[in-house]
Amino acid sequence: MDWTYIQGILMLAGINMIAVLGLSLLTGFTGLFSFGHAGFMAIGAYVGAWISASPASTPAGMGLPFILAIVGGGAAAGVVSYFIGRISLNLKGDYFCIATLGFGEAIRLIFNNVNRFGGARGWPGVPSNSSFLAILIADIVAVLFLANLVKSRHGRNMIAVREEELAAQIAGIDVFRSKMTSLVISAVYAGVAGVFFAHYMTFIQPKMFSLTKSTELTIIVIFGGLGSISGSVLGALVLTALPEVLRAFEIWRLVFYGAAVILIMVSRPKGLMGGLELTPSGIRKWTAERNALRQAKATLLAEDSGRKED
């Protein structure tokens, strides 16, 4: 295996990681499942391509710098998600999930039918701007942003919404606003991932952003562990690399992929990380919780035996 090949897999994992981190905020921390995030990736990919592709290519772009494509693609996905959220965030649980599924497919079908962006034939000639370094920097920024958000009052409010919506409202939390913030940020993440994806593949086509892609993102989030940033990072790395590792199985590859995912989910039902973080403070918290549980059990037992002696 040569470095170019490994680097290619890592870049793809890094791109997936951006989208997965965003979805992790929505699903893992706010408790809203989405099956439409490939749609936001598509918006990012197409808007990004439009901004950076050369005016001479067909379809024609604007020929602007890559950084503007990232900003524009992320912003476009965020704006669209805001309007989708306005309509659908009042839906409860599974109904919201079904609505996102519909929106995701609708976005794909719109791109399928807009000839300005190449329609179903796709858009060749997107500049190859997604360098290894650029993806690495984007991933680091994405992780830091998310980690800081989750450990603030805004992030805690989202977690409260996930835990118990009614109690969150009674605790003075604007549930709708928390959900909206979470949705828009996760869509911006997906949009940025889409931009990097387009500039990595240099060719985009609506069918790349089908329901399968949305499902893949959700699987990675659950696989890594809901409510864990380290889980999402690990999940994106493992599940993007896994199909490549399994290439030896040729046509049985995806069967083994599915079997491997099932095996891990059965042995670790809460995902790889199970809501824990692989950071010094995360580990401290984990040990503190375990000690507290052990202590509480000991206290209760002592009280119980005390009562018997009486």
Binding site: R153, R156, L166, I170, T181
Partner: protein, 260 residues
């Protein structure tokens, strides 16, 4: 004494069922008022109406002289009314400390950008929130359980944690929905003292729903009795325990009375 909460002709209908029928009463500033009645009398519905979870069909709810009808629950919480639930609703998978810390959020106002960039105002206010949560846990004797996941707490302590979480909002009016449910006499006794203590220490007014008559008679200065959605009596513990209608609602009519 001025009333902190004033309810007038409050009515709530669910289709053809009138759950609350033209009920009026008030909670005086700093008072502890009990709301009692048989199952299905509409007590919890009144709590849901006050906290904005339901909208009243008619009638008014005034908090410190301002109508709060039609406001969203989080706005009402923001104004200083909060509650506990009959079936405990904690943030189950979070630690005891995080439950309280989350509820302290109204005491901070740093912006989103300040949080992401970890600016000084964020740091200062987070420090303040942490200290406040620690202090509340200390006052309520929950410090030993600080790191325990809320779901693993013994039942009685879960109830207490819910009250601490409510206090973290700096409420002016606290609504307690059957706080003694499932507690033994010992724990109920403790809870009674706790209710009086938080009223005094935090300068609160309390409205409490309860079935434990010891608790109601012991701590409530004023009692409102509901039956089938209607207010049937109101008064001090003494007056209520002698009221014929109340006795009838709780114990039923004697056969002689029916025959007569």
């Amino acid at each position: 004494m001025a009333a902190i909460l004033h309810i007038r002709d409050l009515t709530k209908q669910f289709g053809g069922l009138t759950a609350v029928d033209a009920v009026s009463f008030s909670v005086p500033e700093g008072g502890i008022v009990g709301l009692i009645g048989p199952n299905g009398a509409g007590k919890t519905t009144i709590f849901n109406l006050i906290t904005g979870i339901y909208r009243p069909t008619s009638g008014s709810i005034e908090y410190r002289g301002k109508s709060i009808v039609g406001l969203e629950p989080f706005r009402i919480a923001d104004m200083g009314i909060t509650r506990t639930f009959q079936n405990i609703r904690l943030f189950k998978n979070l630690s005891v400390f995080d439950n309280v810390l989350t509820a302290c959020h109204l005491s901070a106002n740093y912006s989103f950008a300040e949080a992401i960039l970890r600016l000084p105002r964020f740091r200062a206010q987070e420090k303040h929130l942490t200290a406040k949560a620690e202090e509340l846990l200390g006052i309520m004797n929950l410090s030993d359980y600080r790191d325990l996941i809320a779901n693993n707490l013994p039942y009685g302590l879960q109830r207490r944690l819910e009250i601490v979480r409510a206090l973290a909002l700096n409420p002016k009016l606290l609504l307690l929905d059957e706080p003694a449910a499932g507690m033994n006499p010992d724990e109920t006794e403790q809870l009674m003292r706790l209710i009086v203590r938080i009223r005094d220490d935090f300068g609160l007014s309390v409205l409490v729903i309860e079935h434990h008559m010891d608790l109601i008679m012991g701590v409530c200065e004023h009692i409102v009795v509901l039956n089938f959605g209607e207010k049937i009596a109101e008064g001090s513990a003494d007056e209520i325990s002698k009221n014929a209608q109340v006795i009838e609602a709780y114990l039923g009519t004697s056969e002689e009375a029916v025959d007569a």
